[in-house]
Symmetry: C2
Subunit: 117 residues, 2 copies
DNA sequence: CATATATGAGACATAAAGGTATCATTTATG
DNA sequence: CATAAATGATACCTTTATGTCTCATATATG
């Protein structure tokens, strides 16, 4: 969608193009529409368009609205609370790495994604 | 277990101590036993002990034997193959980050984990 | 040897994630 | 106005991960 930014895309069109199950894709699109990233229009010739500039839509926002970023609040071993008395030797490493990942997600927009390097 | 390295631990003992479901824990222990990280002894007073030095057991090995490290071979957005014509702007970032995570997992042993910083 | 306390093995149950089906409503177009 | 092509909403199905149950076997100890 980002690649031809101004065209209204129907779920059916995207389904054929992306090889993602039709109904499932529709569910996702509806979700994104409710989250406000895209705008939907019903009826014949209807479909979805971005509702704001794609350079203003960051990956982190999308993830956040669809499934939340909470999974990142766990330690690298998957515990919500570190099971050790004092923080384990991977603690600092993970804190730093996780921060840099989140930062990357927060600063990369859809526009950045489709930009050639 | 690593914290009192030489004692035989029964599933029941660990279950009470760790608050992990008894039967589920047993399954996991059996799995680890089959993978060769721990040795099991049956019968009264039986249980599990490490079968080699905990400084020789790396987190990566454990993950690998239990569920595999393959999930890391995906791009950061979850695709097995990058869906863009050319690699996206997060590609390099993720390649690097992922490498450093795997490296951390490969070089951190159980002994390191329980070491106070 | 009987009993209590272990693991081995594998079937079964439950919950969450991923995916499908259906009906209602909307709207462009002939 | 009828029809085709679209989304909205929601219930349902399927698969996978997580967790449970049960029976068999092993072994230390009185």
């Amino acid at each position: 969608m980002a690649q031809n930014r101004n065209e209204v895309c129907s779920a059916n069109y995207l389904h054929k193009k992306l090889d993602i199950p039709h109904q499932y894709l529709r569910q996702l699109l509806t979700k994104l529409s409710k989250s406000g990233f895209i705008h939907s229009s019903r009826g014949r010739n209807g479909g979805f368009v971005f509702s704001k500039e794609i350079s203003q839509i960051y990956i982190a926002d999308i993830i956040d609205s669809v499934e939340g970023l909470e999974s990142f609040n766990k330690c690298i071993l998957g515990f919500t609370d570190c099971p050790f008395d004092v923080k384990c030797s991977m603690h600092d490493f993970w804190e730093k790495t996780r921060g840099s990942i989140i930062n990357e997600l927060k600063t990369t927009s859809l526009a950045d994604l489709i930009l050639r390097k």
